[in-house]
Amino acid sequence: MTNTTYTVIFYLFAAITVFSAVFVVFSRNVIYSAFSLLFTFFGVAALYVFLSADFIAVTQIIVYVGGILVLLLFGVMFTNKIMMTDLKTDVLNLVPGLVLLVAITGGLIYTFLTRSEWFTTVEQLQGSVVERIGFETMSRYVLPFEMVSILLLLALIGAAFLARFDNSAKSNEK
């Protein structure tokens, strides 16, 4: 792959990511936002491949698109009456939000590009990263790995407990 095609493909995925994220934020319809978020997640996963983190890209697609996005869509469909087409959402604090959006994004980009001298080494990550993730998980990061798995288990049990259909409250009322 020549350098030019690499650059063109990078800019293509960057444009997909940024413009679909803009559509997520500025669309008034929640369903449109959710489906636009799909393209954002895929674009970010493609950027992860550019960063030679292929395992993270696949994890992003499985967890975000297959899990979180489906959860969000379920949330949209549970909490809106589809038949009434009441899917529009209002916007408040529009002007302060826009000012903050421009100020924070511009400030961050200015700081990143001009005020910082990042220490980048010659040895970049190259090729597939899967094998090294396996070694790191089972050596240096074994304690965080176990802790995060317990946390995920607790969170999922808690979520199922919170969202369950409450039979006892109904029977108490009768």
Partner: protein, 105 residues
């Protein structure tokens, strides 16, 4: 012009800054709780791009491992938050975060 055509660390940082700003905008201005959650996901993705970019251009594995943990925490956060939103909807019959102002029914 050479800066534009050779992809480096700065390109990823700019994309993540834009995603962060958009996520913050969604959290601040939208009334629907689900869209606020989407803003949180955008911010987490921006953080992940930063971690992986620094990891690539530094040659270490720290950013890759942390981005994996961030994805796990994002999954836990989304599950809990959706459960809370569904409970709010059962109680108040709306998910408009600006009209929910009491802790009891």
């Amino acid at each position: 012009m050479d800066v534009l055509f050779t992809i480096g660390l700065d390109h990823y940082l700019v994309i993540s800054a834009i995603l962060f700003g958009l996520g913050l905008f969604a959290i601040l201005t939208r009334k629907n709780a689900i869209v606020v959650l989407m803003g949180v996901e955008l911010i987490l993705n921006a953080a992940n791009i930063n971690l992986l970019a620094f990891s690539k251009y530094n040659g270490g594995m720290e950013g890759v491992m942390f981005s994996l943990f961030v994805i796990v925490l994002a999954a836990a956060e989304a599950a809990i938050a959706l459960a809370i939103v569904i409970n709010i909807y059962k109680t108040f019959n709306t998910v408009d975060v600006s009209s929910i102002d009491s802790l009891k029914e």
